[in-house]
């Protein structure tokens, strides 16, 4: 069985962000990067499935982006993926979802993966399109926003998370793409021995130009700051001072 997990490296979202000089993306200058949180659940689920099947499946991790994304690929290798594929693209963060899905499709279509896991969205762009687009291009079944996953005998049975706490129970035959929602599992922390082993695992680099003739279907005009709303009250100072001012407000609002 051949498994694939598609991941994205995103900025740490606790940072303050500034618009790049050309106005079309953020300035990446001082930012720290991490594996997209939704993709952590995807990697974990793929590794769990590999373990369920006694290690037989080969698990590949693929990511599109500049050189730095190999760090995210290595984390996935340390969590248990067997080999990595890096679609080298300095403009990775600026591509639209169609371009990302097209490039991934070009890279994997000959590989006959049985199951492809990916996060349901990226934490930075949040388009939630690449998984379903890739499934459609491959002609695979697609199960999105999955919070429960079971596999048996060539079929997957999942819980899709809907609104209001309701879940849909859906099943499909392989091959399939599964997009993963937060809470699907508990992503493991790579152990030091596994981090060391990951250094010896292969990461194949593919220049994206060979995979991406596609123009974007949605173009970025510019980035804008978040609209500043007419001021809410900001209380600052030591905890005692802040509490002195906050408590009367709370009392008044619960009256």
């Amino acid at each position: 069985m051949r498994l694939l997990v598609c991941i994205k490296q995103v900025p740490d979202l606790e940072a303050a962000f500034h618009v790049a000089a050309d106005g079309r993306w953020i300035d990446e200058g001082d930012l720290a990067f991490r594996l997209n949180e939704y993709d952590e659940y995807a990697v974990e689920q793929a590794v769990l499935l590999k373990e369920q099947l006694d290690g037989e499946p080969e698990l590949t991790v693929a990511s599109l982006g500049p050189g730095r994304v190999t760090e995210a690929i290595k984390k996935a290798l340390a969590m248990g993926a067997d080999r990595g594929v890096h679609l080298v693209d300095d403009l990775g963060p600026r591509r639209d979802p169609w371009q990302v899905a097209s490039a991934l499709h070009a890279a994997v279509r000959e590989e006959a993966y049985d199951l492809i896991f990916t996060g349901f969205q990226s934490a930075d762009r949040g388009s939630a399109q690449v998984g379903p687009l890739l499934a459609g291009l491959l002609g695979y079944a697609c199960l999105t926003t999955v919070v429960g996953f079971e596999y048996a005998d060539g079929r997957v049975n999942v819980r899709r998370e809907l609104e209001g706490g309701v879940k849909a129970v859906v099943e499909a035959a392989l091959p399939a793409v599964v997009t993963c929602q937060l809470g699907l599992n508990r992503p493991r922390y790579p152990t030091l021995p596994n981090i060391m082993k990951a250094k010896r695992k292969e990461i194949r680099s593919l220049p994206v130009e060979s995979l991406l003739p596609e123009a974007p279907r949605v173009e970025t005009e510019r980035l804008l700051p978040r609209p500043k709303r007419a001021a809410g009250l900001v209380l600052d100072g030591d905890p005692g001072e802040v509490a002195d001012r906050l408590v009367p407000i709370l009392r008044e609002k619960v009256r």
């Binding site: 606790e14 953020i26 169609w98 934490a123 762009r125 949040g126 388009s127 399109q129 379903p132 459609g136 002609g139 695979y140 079944a141 697609c142 199960l143 999105t144 926003t145 819980r159 899709r160 998370e161 809907l162 609104e163 209001g164 706490g165 309701v166 879940k167 849909a168 129970v169 859906v170 499909a172 035959a173 399939a176 937060l182 809470g183 974007p216 279907r217 949605v218 173009e219 970025t220 005009e221 510019r222 980035l223 804008l224 978040r226 809410g232 009250l233 900001v234 209380l235 600052d236 100072g237 030591d238 905890p239 802040v242 509490a243 906050l246 407000i249 709370l250 009392r251 609002k253 619960v254």
Partner: protein, 321 residues
């Protein structure tokens, strides 16, 4: 310009947020029609033309079949944009429609502006800390709209025309679809766990987020909820970690609440959380980060270490009691 709105129907009823689609169509100034896989006995309160496929034969969650019905309505209406909610349904169906048409999709629209060439759409990025303005390079374009970003529009008159879409109307070959047997089969639903907490009824909610740090610190948040006569709520990470029951989760995939007072403790304000509580009467946020997205909706932002601030607030409340 023309919009085709794709409404939502589930477990026997129309999803209320469907009317936000109508509100968006009006905000665009478009001539709007609607496609709904729903019940002919229960048409939506929408003034334009409605293409209605009976959910009894299509099924509630048959993505390929729903896609093909949307494509059929598109063939008949030739809209400039096809609009979904940014919801579990939109995430599933919208990209399939965009792919079948070979067109672009803009996700999570919060604002729209006319442009010389084409409409400009504004979407949040970086968890809402920045916004991005985009232009589609295709016509039509598929869009999904953020929950709560556009006011709902409920019509007082019946649809101007209701067109029943029958199985024969949806021609898979013409649509480019290949569904003879559905790839994804809905087996049923699992209801939300109900343990006697109904946040939707609470007048005061005090919620805890990742910023509280450890599970032990939850006690202070509970104590504040109690002192204020309210209920404990939580953001998603605490529920996923098993610290709090799922029915206390506030957000688009948990409970949507609008209490008189909402106090957010150590919650940064992820888009999905804001969608669940931004209509609250009065919002107090306690957070160490004055740039946290929750500041966008908070009436009061108390800046500092959430655990220290909670302790100071509790001391004063308990002394006065």
């Amino acid at each position: 310009m023309k919009s085709l709105l794709v409404g939502e129907f589930r477990q026997g009823g129309l999803i209320e947020a469907t009317y936000e689609l109508a509100g968006f169509g009006a905000a665009c100034g478009d001539e709007a029609s609607m496609l709904l896989v729903g019940s002919p006995d229960n048409p939506p309160l929408f003034a334009g033309r409605v293409y209605l496929a009976d959910v009894a034969w299509v099924g509630e969650s048959a993505p390929g079949a729903h896609r093909d019905l949307v494509l059929e309505a598109i063939r008949r209406e030739d809209p400039d944009q096809i609009v979904f909610l940014h919801s579990s349904y939109g995430w599933d169906i919208a990209p399939r429609v965009a792919l079948a048409l070979g067109v672009g999709q803009v996700s999570q629209v919060v604002a729209v502006e006319p442009g010389a060439d084409a409409r400009h759409y504004t979407v949040p990025i970086m968890n809402g800390k920045l916004r991005m303005q985009v232009v589609p390079a295709t016509r039509p374009v598929v869009v999904t709209i953020q929950a709560g970003a556009f006011a709902p529009l409920v019509s007082e008159s019946a649809p101007s025309a209701t067109v029943a879409l029958q199985p024969a109307s949806a021609d898979p070959a013409a649509a480019g679809g290949t569904d003879t047997a559905p790839a994804e089969r809905l087996l049923g639903y699992e209801a939300a766990e109900r343990g006697g907490v109904d946040l939707a009824q609470a007048e005061v909610i005090v919620s805890a987020g990742r910023g509280i740090g450890t599970q032990e610190n939850l006690a202070a948040v509970r104590a504040l909820a109690q002192a204020l006569g309210g209920e404990l709520g939580a953001s998603r990470p605490l529920v996923d970690a098993g610290w709090v029951e799922h029915e206390r989760q506030v957000g688009s995939t948990g409970q949507t609440v609008a209490p008189k007072l909402y106090v957010a403790c150590g919650i940064s304000g992820a888009i999905q959380h804001l969608a669940g509580m931004r209509r609250s009467g009065y919002i107090v946020a306690i957070n160490k980060d004055r740039e946290a997205p929750i500041a966008e909706v908070a009436d009061v932002l108390a800046v500092g270490d959430v655990n220290q601030l909670l302790a100071a607030v509790l001391t004063r409340l308990q002394n006065e009691a």
